[in-house]
């Protein structure tokens, strides 16, 4: 019985801890509405954009600077990487930083899209 009670108490404590962590995470998203999608959480979309140099930055350098993300690779050899701000609401419009890599692996174009 005692053991059971202890276990129940542990379960309750555990659940409370998980809930507080989850609420804390939601709270941090809600506070700023979005969270950065980069390896460095302090990096803004604009600073990420400023980090990448068209015609010069390579995929390896972008990966090192910004972290991994979604890649769309085309048969033509071009590839698009997209960094999207994280939001608490799944359907919310999100800011994006998009990088186009030429078949050579060097950045061809970039664009910043704000959340509308």
């Amino acid at each position: 019985m005692m053991r059971q009670r202890t276990n129940k108490r542990l379960v309750r404590v555990g659940l409370a801890l998980v809930a507080s962590l989850w609420l804390g995470a939601c709270g941090s998203l809600n506070a700023g509405r979005t969270a950065p999608p980069f390896r460095d959480p302090a990096m803004s979309m604009q600073s990420a954009h400023d980090t990448i140099e068209e015609g010069k930055t390579t995929q390896a350098e972008a990966l090192a600077a910004l972290g991994p993300t979604t890649e769309i690779r085309f048969d033509s050899g071009y590839a698009v990487w997209v960094y999207r701000a994280r939001t608490a609401e799944p359907d919310a419009d999100r800011a994006e930083f998009v990088i186009l890599f030429a078949p050579s692996g060097v950045v061809k174009k970039t664009r910043l899209r704000p959340a509308y």
């Binding site: 979604t70 769309i72 085309f74 048969d75 033509s76 071009y78 698009v80 997209v82 999207r84 419009d93 999100r94 994006e96 998009v98 186009l100 061809k108 174009k109 664009r111 899209r113 509308y116």
Partner: protein, 283 residues
């Protein structure tokens, strides 16, 4: 619902072997005629067979005519544009340079000239309507797809007009031009929605194809500018890890990098909104 791909055996059953042979005789002979030139003596013999091409990618003349009729009724949405239909490749390696297009019914048949940009217009033909004729290119099923092409003249370079694209969607749906199979496009289009009313949804998943591979698409109306989100480009590839496996069922298979969707039913964007394209190549 977008018109789902009709299985080849269904098409085959709709036609007698003799009729199919005749259809392909028309197409083969006309293709030969198109290719004839100074070297006509070198042309190989044409073999006519009912099994020569049992899977043509064909469309209903009646349905396409209905699309033309809708265009006439709603022409005010694109007052300066004309309606053309367009053929696009669907499979890698599809030869788009020597296409022959014929309208074929029980007794009616005529060829339809195709422009260098793979667009064409259909003439009004009462007999073709009466006989429920088919519009038949000399290509196998699923090798090509179809769209409408409605372009106001005089627009800035690399732009389209939203009203033209709205009408393209409506006419395309009415004409039954979209050919997709499997559940892929069913998921994209929320299933049974092959009416022009689908195009009035705020964000219909009617796939448009730009002239070249896209990097960015921006809506511009006066001072208002909005860049399309990445999930509105490339057939939603950014959110669909299974896209590659589904692509054979989508008529965007070889056009993914040119694919985009628009908020057609969002009337806060007027018909004169410009859709600006930035392509992968170029500045």
């Amino acid at each position: 619902m977008f018109s789902l791909y009709t299985p080849p055996h269904v098409l085959t059953c709709q036609r007698t072997p003799a009729r199919m042979a005749w259809v392909w005789l028309v197409l083969c002979v006309s293709a030969t005629a198109q290719q004839q030139g100074p070297k006509v003596e070198q042309m190989p013999a044409v073999t006519v067979s009912g099994k020569a091409n049992p899977n043509p990618v064909e469309k209903s003349y009646r349905k396409m005519f209905k699309g033309m009729d809708l265009f006439a009724r709603q022409h005010s949405q694109s007052p300066d544009a004309e309606l053309r239909f367009k053929l696009l490749p669907r499979k890698p390696g599809t030869d788009m340079q020597t296409i022959t297009l014929a309208v074929v019914g029980d007794t009616v048949d005529f060829l339809v000239p195709i422009a260098a940009d793979h667009t064409f217009t259909l003439p009004h033909d009462a007999l073709a309507l009466q006989e429920d004729a088919q519009v038949i290119p000399n290509r196998r099923a699923l090798s090509m797809t179809w769209r409408t092409d409605i372009r106001a003249p005089g627009l800035p370079t690399d732009t389209r007009r939203l009203g033209d694209l709205r009408l393209e969607c409506k006419v395309g749906m009415e004409a039954g031009l979209i050919s997709n199979s499997s559940n892929f496009i069913g998921r994209l289009t929320s299933a049974a929605l092959d009416t022009p009313a689908y195009c009035d949804k705020v964000a219909p998943l009617y796939l448009f194809f730009a002239d070249r591979p896209l990097f960015s698409v921006t809506l511009v109306s006066g001072q208002r500018r909005e860049i399309l989100a990445i999930d509105q480009l490339y057939a939603n590839a950014s959110d669909d890890p299974g896209l590659k496996g589904n692509l054979p069922y989508c008529d965007c298979e070889v056009l993914v990098d040119r694919t985009y969707v628009l908020p057609l039913g969002d009337r806060s964007w007027p018909d004169d909104t410009l859709v600006e394209f930035e392509y992968m190549e170029g500045e």
